[in-house]
């Protein structure tokens, strides 16, 4: 299940990876860590939620953007991770961090199984099958009232004793940074090349010796595990879980974030998640129209500028560099 040799295959990435970029990221991270001290509770909460979506969007981007496995079950896996952790903590009395780990492990295994079951499916069938899984999971959680308290919601023990969102912000920031950094290392490694090759032409990838079966399962497992763990941390932050959070709208939101930010880039999902979540909160007073705006923007992006915000940013940067 954990492919032997993937650790060896990680190694140092292609030489030439920019140390400037890494330094910039580190500086940005430091700034981000200090941010909560300059903001009030509510903005920090918004940013914390945004960081949760950064993790979700980035992990989905790995699966769908880079490897080409267009799964529609990502949000359900986050919910599954949340419920698993919550129920283990509530029923078995294990400490919350262990619960979170268990949530991630369960969703890792679930993702592995999904990867194995959908190996030969074309994009549309994969989308249908993962959609069916997500909806089934939501319905089952909703129905198992005795276990999950269904639509009433499940009260979840908190991770930290704090009343302010600030420490949670730092937790999510660390998790998001670890996710993005981990993905960066992965994508620059041999595994990254294999995944991208699978997306571009699976048959050719196989013909040159890439074990597409193993890596499709792996990437499904990894991205699902990340989503599950993130969902678990989120559950232990908000203190409440509900199958409402596993509705298809959540998946649509993740897709919107990744597409707006720029698929198949590392910064795209980060940017997309941050922008959409912050804008969503900022425009909350205007009601549902903000979702209309997002949807229209995505449609415009798909139609006119498929590379999203990151594409625009890169084009601008190239123009500045050319002019300089």
């Amino acid at each position: 299940m954990i492919p032997l040799g993937w650790a060896r295959a990680l190694g140092p990435g292609m030489p030439g990876a920019s140390t400037v970029r890494a330094a910039g990221a580190a500086a940005g991270l430091a700034a981000a860590a200090l941010l909560p001290f300059a903001l009030g509770s509510y903005p920090v909460h918004v940013l914390t939620v945004a960081l949760y979506y950064v993790i979700l969007a980035s992990s989905w981007n790995l699966l769908a953007g880079y490897t080409g496995l267009f799964s529609l079950a990502h949000h359900a896996l986050a919910g599954l991770g949340g419920y698993t952790s919550a129920l283990l903590v509530l029923r078995a009395g294990i400490p919350v961090p262990l619960g979170i780990a268990c949530g991630g492990i369960l969703t890792y295994a679930t993702g592995y199984a999904m990867g194995a079951l959908t190996l030969r499916m074309r994009t549309l069938y994969l989308a249908l099958a993962t959609w069916a899984f997500a909806e089934s999971t939501r319905v089952v959680i909703s129905m198992e009232y005795g276990l999950t308290r269904g639509d009433l919601g499940l009260a979840v023990p908190k991770l930290l004793a704090a009343t302010s969102p600030r420490p949670y912000y730092e937790v999510f920031l660390a998790a998001a940074a670890a996710t993005v950094a981990g993905l960066a290392i992965l994508l620059r490694s041999r595994i990254g090349y294999r995944l991208r090759a699978i997306r571009d032409d699976e048959g050719v990838a196989r013909a040159v010796g890439v074990n597409t079966v193993r890596w499709k399962r792996f990437v499904f497992a990894l991205s699902s595990g990340i989503a599950g763990a993130a969902g678990a941390i989120y559950g232990h932050y908000i203190g409440l879980l509900s199958p409402v959070g596993m509705k298809f709208d959540e998946m649509a939101l993740v897709i919107i974030m990744v597409v707006l930010g720029g698929q198949r880039t590392l910064a795209g999902p980060v940017l997309g998640a941050a922008v959409v979540e912050v804008a969503s909160e900022a425009l909350r007073a205007y009601g549902q129209i903000r979702m209309v705006v997002f949807a229209l923007t995505v449609l415009a992006v798909m139609r006119i500028y498929p590379s999203g915000l990151m594409g625009i940013a890169r084009a601008m940067a190239r123009r500045w560099l050319a002019a300089a």
Partner: protein, 296 residues
């Protein structure tokens, strides 16, 4: 279990199943011709309901619901064609890769767009036109008149659909595009127009379902969600791209829900379909009639 009561429930299941067929046939038809899945089918269902309601309350009055129906269907179909022309047509213009992803992202975005637009325009309230007909007695069990109308309407529409597909030139063109796009193009068929019409017909069926069921399931922004779910459940059960699969799947789902409600428990009504779906996914992932889902 009283056999007459069982029969009533079976009939009730078939009635609702017939309506589910409309959604499923629409989804599968669009897939057959355009090779894409329209995830926003439920939203066109929802729009059909709204248009029907608005037509009845603002203009035609509740007595002339039968006149409002075709108008609602045509409106939805026209909207569908517009959407297809603006957003989906470029899919086939050549440069685009990974069409499936594009179509999925675009139609999912449409879901978000329409649903929230409905809230913005009409608010989150539930509307309902008056029942289309008084309740009909089927033995000792009275069936809601609107449901009977909806079933008959679905039967008529599916019959018309079958007629068009089998007996008309348009149907021939549609079938040829479904079987071989390149061949159809070589034969001189205007692919972009066929795509547009196919999409319009497909969503028109969904809009019809919405208009027919407006008094039964009510009209509100989220009303599409459930029908999308039902529609795709049927697709998974019956097989993507198979019209007989959609029809049999529709009736099967209606039956399973109805019998499950009476034999096991009515509160899990929506779950039985998923049980069937999961069973099929495990045993026969391409559905009962499905084409091969294996990659080429």
């Amino acid at each position: 279990m009283d056999p007459t009561l069982l029969t009533q429930y079976v009939l009730a299941g078939l009635v609702i199943g017939g309506i589910y067929c409309l959604m499923a046939v629409g989804i599968t038809f669009i897939y057959s011709v355009m090779k894409m899945i329209n995830w926003a089918m439920g939203e066109f269902y929802m729009i059909g309901g709204y248009v029907q309601y608005v037509l009845i309350t603002a203009w035609l009055g509740p007595q002339r619901w039968a006149l409002a129906l075709p108008l609602a269907v045509l409106t939805v179909a026209a909207l569908g064609m517009l959407v297809q022309r603006l957003l989906l047509q470029p899919m086939f213009a050549g440069q685009l890769e990974r069409l499936d992803e594009y179509a999925t992202i675009v139609t999912i975005s449409l879901t978000v767009l329409f649903r929230n637009l409905a809230v913005v325009l009409f608010g989150p309230y539930q509307f309902s036109p008056r029942d289309y007909a008084p309740p009909v007695q089927l033995g000792p069990l009275p069936i809601n008149g609107s449901r009977v109308v909806a079933f008959l309407g679905a039967a008529v529409l599916l019959g018309l659909f079958a007629l068009v597909v089998r007996r008309t030139w348009l149907g021939l063109a549609l079938r040829s595009v479904a079987q071989n796009r390149l061949g159809a193009l070589a034969a001189g068929i205007n692919l972009s127009r066929i795509d547009m019409l196919a999409f319009g017909i497909g969503v028109g069926l969904a809009g019809a379902a919405g208009a027919l069921l407006a008094p039964v399931f009510l009209v509100y922004p989220e009303s599409g969600a459930l029908s999308t779910v039902k529609g795709f459940e049927i697709i998974v059960i019956g097989g993507l791209g198979s019209l007989p699969g959609s029809i049999v799947g529709g009736f099967l789902l209606g039956l399973v829900e109805s019998l499950g409600s009476v034999l096991i428990s009515p509160s899990f009504r929506d779950v039985y379909g998923f049980g069937l779906l999961l069973l099929l996914l495990a045993l026969r992932p391409t559905g009962l009639w499905g084409e091969q889902a294996r990659e080429a």
